[in-house]
């Protein structure tokens, strides 16, 4: 095995990674680097082992010694590890309200974009980071009970459909990661700008995006009550603490401007969200 990678901190999911594959090691070191966290007691840290295929033996991915998957395909093992980290966040993060959403920040105010998978959240947050906002996450927003966002600085996971919109991000993907994953770019966000990783924020804008090919982008106010319902529906582990989640999300929508966003062109959608964030921030006490 090559040197241990980590420990990493993905919200409440703490882990290390070991692998015997130089390409896997290089790819994971690059893609996971923004999750590098403080050392914790070893019993709290989970251990991934990615063993590459050798001489007719399939490769395998293990978690704490238990096999998660075996395959001759190194790309599948790599992708499964990254996918499983997200599962780990969902399973382990009991102290947070977890919502399917992306989030970006400026001046301590966050814009949350909440929608089901494959709704363009990563593309939108990448566009906002490109426009100068700080990055919080692209898939799972972790909310503390005081309503603030705890960052989850996973790499941006950009599917092929987004590549023409953000072609310059390709050069930021670790080369080994490009080789291992041909269907998705994993973009470490600190490569976009060294200061692109936001330390956290309080939501001031909540956007419910919907992609419609060819549509003119529009941002329409949404009732806060409907927005609360949408956020409740987009939670992970909804059975875990529904009352807590309900109260936290209600406070968030009360303190936020809420919109439905129809996205067609990324640049238009980004412009509309930046304007909404400006309006919300201008009403915050520290910005008066």
């Amino acid at each position: 095995m090559l040197p241990v990678l980590g420990p990493y901190e993905a919200v409440e999911w703490l882990f290390t990674v070991e692998t015997d594959g130089p390409a896997e090691h290089a790819a994971l070191a690059g893609v996971l680097r923004a999750l590098k966290g403080a050392s914790r007691p070893s019993e709290a840290v989970h251990r991934y082992q990615l063993v590459t295929a050798r001489r007719g033996r399939e490769g395998s991915l293990l978690l704490d010694g238990e096999q998660l998957v075996h395959s001759p395909d190194p790309g599948l093992l790599y992708a499964t590890l990254l996918w499983h980290v997200n599962r780990g966040v969902e399973g382990a993060s009991h102290q947070h309200v977890l919502v399917h959403a992306a989030a970006a920040e400026r001046d301590g105010g966050a814009v949350l974009m909440s929608a089901p998978m494959d709704s363009g959240k990563t593309t939108l947050v990448a566009g906002l980071v490109d426009a100068g906002l700080g990055y919080l996450t692209d898939e799972t927003v972790a909310l503390r009970t005081d309503g603030t966002v705890r960052p989850y600085h996973k790499a941006l996971s950009l599917d092929e459909g987004s590549w023409p919109l953000l072609p310059h991000l390709r050069q930021l993907v670790p080369p080994a990661a490009l080789t291992l994953s041909r269907e998705q770019w994993q973009v470490p966000v600190d490569a976009v700008r060294p200061d692109a990783l936001s330390p956290g924020a309080r939501p001031v804008v909540v956007v419910l995006p919907r992609f419609r090919a060819g549509a003119t982008a529009s941002l329409e106010p949404a009732p806060r009550s409907d927005t609360l319902v949408e956020l409740m529906h987009q939670r992970f582990a909804p059975e875990r603490a529904p009352g807590r989640d309900f109260a936290v999300l209600a406070e968030i929508v009360r303190g936020s401007d809420c919109y439905r966003l129809t996205t067609g062109r990324l640049d238009e959608a980004v412009r509309l969200m930046l304007a909404a964030l400006d309006r919300a921030l201008s009403r915050q006490p520290t910005h008066r």
């Binding site: 009732p223 529904p242 309900f246 109260a247 009360r254």
Partner: protein, 93 residues
């Protein structure tokens, strides 16, 4: 039909949040969410105060300046039946 002399009240254990005059109700047992607006919010408020159905209909229709015996009153009774069907309100025993 909801008997007009029956007293209905919200089922214990429901969670609710009032936001901009709307009421969002979470049934923690089913996980279902319900949004009440306008007249429905007023009716819910009266339900929480333990009004008999006939009194509730008179009160709520009165707030909106319509007759308790007209179509609005009938609609309100149907709404109360819906709430019972959804398990959001229960009769006093």
């Amino acid at each position: 039909m909801t008997a007009r002399d029956a007293t209905l009240h919200p089922r214990p254990g429901l969670l609710q949040e009032e936001i901009d005059g709307d009421l969002v109700i979470l049934d923690p047992d089913s996980g279902l969410l319900h949004v009440l607006r306008g007249t429905a919010t007023a009716a819910w408020s009266a339900l929480r105060q333990g009004r008999a159905t006939a009194e509730l209909v008179r009160e709520v229709t009165g707030v909106f300046g319509v007759s308790a015996d007209g179509p609005e009153g009938a609609e309100l009774l149907r709404f109360l039946e819906d709430l019972q069907r959804l398990g959001l309100v229960v009769r006093d025993t």
